[in-house]
């Protein structure tokens, strides 16, 4: 053993760096590289158009307030952010509620064709939006939903993944709890609200983060189904900023400000709730 240990030490010594230092160094370099475009965007969001066109100028420009204000109010990004926020919250609340109810039925009830119904739910994984985009668009027109909040939330409020995850979680809850509830004559909704939901807080938080980020980042569907600019979401809204120009020069500082704003909301959600997210992903893997 001692011989082997010394051989490892001498090997890493020849590299020149202790192993732990190498780990830290490579992490710092990776993280800086991954974060660099964002930091540059943040920096440029403080520059005036003239400063931007001076390409090598990497000093903070002092025009942050102007850029962010103009993006938010002159170019209506504030409205798009509110639209995105309302859309994402509706999708999160709708999807979590519907999926909790569906998982309750699948785990705690016995009914005919249960496996077939569960398979019917799971098979929708094969049907992402691009597979049904043309008829879905026509359906929205037929329902009179074009340009409405219904169009950008309705098709997203049921999900195979969420039903699957809640089902997995419910199956891991001790059956003694269920027995107790049954003996006490607790009704299903009471059981869901008083027992299952408190025991699934982490899972609900995890599914909520995944859903929120997913909804917030939607681009293709709102682009197609929302043509009224007032009703648009922020991801498509930042492309409207590209028309912002002064004397033929694109106002990239303003566009970068808009990009930072469009990213900040899901970023805050992720940082705040990364623990339940990681736990949910760990379960998804099993």
């Amino acid at each position: 053993m001692a011989v082997e240990d010394s051989s490892i030490t001498s090997e890493s010594a020849t590299v020149g760096l202790p192993d732990t230092l190498w780990v830290h160094l490579s992490l710092v370099v990776s993280i800086v590289l991954m974060g660099a475009p964002l930091l540059l965007a943040l920096l440029m969001s403080t520059q005036s158009t003239a400063q931007i066109y001076d390409v090598t100028n990497l000093a903070p420009g002092g025009h942050a307030l102007e850029n962010y204000q103009s993006a938010l109010f002159e170019y209506d990004l504030a409205r798009y952010i509110v639209n995105s926020f309302v859309m994402s919250i509706i999708v999160v609340v709708g999807k979590v509620s519907l999926s909790l109810l569906a998982a309750l039925a699948i785990v705690y009830y016995d009914f005919p064709y249960k496996d077939a119904i569960f398979a019917f739910v799971l098979l929708t994984l094969l049907l992402p939006v691009p597979v049904r985009i043309v008829p879905l668009f026509e359906l929205m027109a037929d329902l009179g939903w074009a340009n409405s909040m219904l169009a950008i939330t309705g098709p997203y409020i049921a999900s195979a993944t969420a039903v699957f995850l809640f089902r997995q979680h419910f199956l891991s809850i001790p059956s003694s709890l269920v027995e107790t509830a049954r003996l006490d004559g607790v009704g299903p909704i009471e059981f869901l609200v008083d027992v299952l939901v408190p025991m699934s807080r982490g899972m609900i938080a995890g599914v909520s983060v995944i859903t929120f980020v997913y909804a917030w980042n939607q681009y293709l569907w709102p682009l197609i189904v929302v043509s009224d600019q007032q009703k648009q979401v922020v991801q498509v809204g930042i492309s409207y900023l590209q028309s912002a120009s002064q004397a033929g020069q694109t106002q990239w500082g303003l566009i970068m400000a808009g990009s930072i704003l469009a990213l900040s909301v899901p970023l805050v959600v992720l940082v705040a709730l990364h623990r339940p997210l990681l736990e949910t992903f760990a379960l998804q893997q099993k």
Binding site: S26, A105, P112, V131, R132, P135, G154, Q235, I238, A282
Partner: protein, 297 residues
Amino acid sequence: MVRDIRAFDDSRAAAVFLAPTLAVLVLFLYYPSFETFRLSLYETLLLGQQTTFVGLDNFVTLATSPEYHNSLFVSFAFAAVVVVGSLTIALFVAYQLYRVDKWRSIYLVAAIWPYALPPAVAATVLLFLLHPNLGVITHYIEMIPGVEFDWFTNGPLAFGVLAVVAIWKQLGYNIVFLLAALHNVPESLAETSRLDGVGSLTMLREVYVPLISPTLGFLVVMDTIYAFFATFPLVDLMTSGGPNGATNLLIFKLYRDAFEFNSLGLASAESIVLFGIVSILMLAQLKLTGEYAHYGA
């Protein structure tokens, strides 16, 4: 695992609880998907006002269209580059996160944040930073003698730029899953197979990669689907499929055929091809997850 706990008996109540989910799935997922199949057999004219049954003509058109062949090729090549690039980098970062002795949670958040990065934002930011005339990164790249970084006119360069953006955005997702997989490797298993005196990267390649291969397989499938579908904003905002079709991914071509050229029947046929690709990928993943469960037990 406990199954069929059967806390409640009234199966009508179960139907009520399932109804909202099933209604949404039928109305917005199954029904439009069946409609796609039907529409793919029709030719639509006059902004969809007039439709004619044409059988498999739309599929014949696709099979014989050089433009569609190009999109197929570009999409698969793009998926390959994105999957390999993103998984390689993510594997390295996840391994270092797994091994690091302190500040782990700070490093973790700083490494997985691209999970929250909207593709449209990633595209807009890099469109500017890599802009052939104005981009600060372009400026430094072009300081290399003889290099001209004009990806607005150079097809392979545009393809490369798009791949870099797609890889960047997908790193967070991959790191999360790979880190979880590394933590699931039993300590003793890694310990017994520890090779004497080898470098840490050899350990990663020889010991850890085979042990987490089910997760890698899962991610290959998820990243391929991502590269096919979620990259639409990148193409739309950065290249519009050009130059000369070099970045005309299937999803972008489908969008234009449907919503710019109003060829709804042809676009539906393209949707069916995508459905075929997703089905094959998902089937592969189902097989992999099955194996994963076996490995876990």
